[in-house]
């Protein structure tokens, strides 16, 4: 299993992946280049670091750190991302929850890019390979617009 796959297994969103990559770089920089300084990490970050497999962590050293990080960044930029528009605001936990569920549903290590759009009302809209598919309540209303208006007009008469 390659380095990026290990990271993707534990991270579902693009934002989190970039953040964790920065944490990883900071962690190894601290270990290899300034061991005297104490590291400032949140418990969640620390827990994530500890959850990573030992072989993965052992592959990093002073010489290849920069190269591996650059490769990772390049590979992440090439990944196909599923953009998910949600009508409500989400935290990391919910993002992770939705990400896991998405991976279960589509049976692949999908990386999500979650965006906020309150006009959708409910449900969500997806963008995959540049194509938008709207599954929101707003789209449903738009589809049923004629019937809704007809029912409204009954009352207007």
């Amino acid at each position: 299993m390659d380095t990026l796959s290990i990271l993707l297994q534990t991270t579902c969103s693009l934002l989190s992946l970039k953040y964790r990559l920065r944490i990883l770089r900071s962690h190894f920089n601290q270990i290899f280049f300034s061991p005297a300084e104490s590291e400032q990490l949140t418990p969640d970050d620390l827990a994530w670091l500890n959850s990573l497999p030992k072989p993965f962590l052992e592959q990093f050293n002073q010489n290849n750190l920069s190269q591996i990080m650059t490769d990772l960044e390049n590979n992440i930029s090439k990944l196909q991302v599923l953009i998910l528009y949600l009508p409500f605001e989400v935290n990391d936990r919910i993002v992770e929850q939705i990400g896991q569920k998405t991976r279960i549903i589509f049976s692949q290590l999908l990386l999500l890019d979650i965006k906020y759009d309150p006009s959708l009302i409910a449900g969500c809209a997806l963008v995959w390979k540049g194509i938008l598919r709207d599954y929101s309540l707003k789209a449903k209303i738009e589809q049923e617009k004629a019937q809704i208006l007809e029912s409204f007009k009954k009352y207007l008469r």
């Binding site: 919910i94 939705i98 589509f106 309150p118 997806l126 194509i131 598919r133 809704i148 208006l149």
Partner: protein, 239 residues
């Protein structure tokens, strides 16, 4: 005499004393002598010439008188001949005048006949011309009436066609205007209704947004997202 002798003596003495004067005096004397001799000779010649001239004059006068006589004879004969010629001429002239008068009268008579005939012909021509003119006038009048009638007929027909086409054009124009106005009203109505529909939908969406934001729990929202993902899977959107 004594005085003359004395003078001659004095002069002879003077001349002998002055040779030049003497020579001059001699020359003068000779010259006077020669002059006198020449004068006498001329006198003689002149008298001879005068005599000859008188003879010639006498002869000339005689010849002249004879000539005058002959001339008068000739003149008399000429006058006689002239009188004869004049008499003959008068006779010939009177005869010629008579002939001329006869001829002239004949010519005048012929001319009068010719003029009378020409006048008659001219009158006939005028009469035939008047007749033709009347006929032509009648024909022209008829033709003119026919043409005017035809023109009026064409005008009436054209006017009728024009009025009909104008009416049709006006009607079609009014119909087009009405159609355009109806379309405009219909478009406006449709736009307004569309706007109302959009407003209804927007109001409904806004209302739903406000209501569901309060009434729909986070779990329900996430369930709806899962439902959407399931649908996407069924539609094979993410492959």
């Amino acid at each position: 005499m004594t005085f003359e002798f004395v003078t001659i003596e004095v002069m002879s003495a003077y001349l002998l004393e002055n040779p030049v004067v003497l020579i001059f005096t001699i020359f003068a004397t000779v010259a006077v002598f020669l002059y006198l001799r020449e004068y006498n000779l001329r006198k003689k010649f002149e008298s001879a010439d005068q005599k000859t001239l008188d003879e010639f004059r006498q002869k000339g006068l005689e010849a002249f008188h004879q000539s005058i006589k002959k001339s008068q004879n000739i003149l008399g004969e000429a006058e006689l001949e002239g009188v004869k010629v004049v008499a003959d001429t008068r006779f010939a002239t009177s005869k010629m005048e008579q002939d001329y008068e006869k001829n002239l009268q004949a010519i005048v008579a012929q001319s009068q006949q010719a003029i009378t005939a020409a006048q008659n012909q001219f009158l006939e021509f005028i009469q035939s011309l008047q007749l033709k003119s009347r006929q032509f006038e009648d024909i022209s009048l008829k033709k003119g009436e026919e043409r005017i009638n035809r023109m009026f007929g064409t005008l009436e027909s054209n006017l009728s066609d024009f009025l009909v086409s104008s009416e049709q054009k006006t009607l079609s124009s009014i119909e087009l205007e009405l159609k355009a106005a109806r379309n405009l009203i219909e478009n406006y109505k449709e736009q307004q209704l569309k706007l109302i529909d959009e407003n209804i939908i927007a109001m409904m969406e806004q209302t739903l947004n406000i209501v569901l934001a309060k009434k729909l729990s986070l779990k329900d929202q996430i369930d709806l997202v899962y439902e959407a993902l399931e649908r996407a899977k069924l539609e094979k959107f993410v492959v």
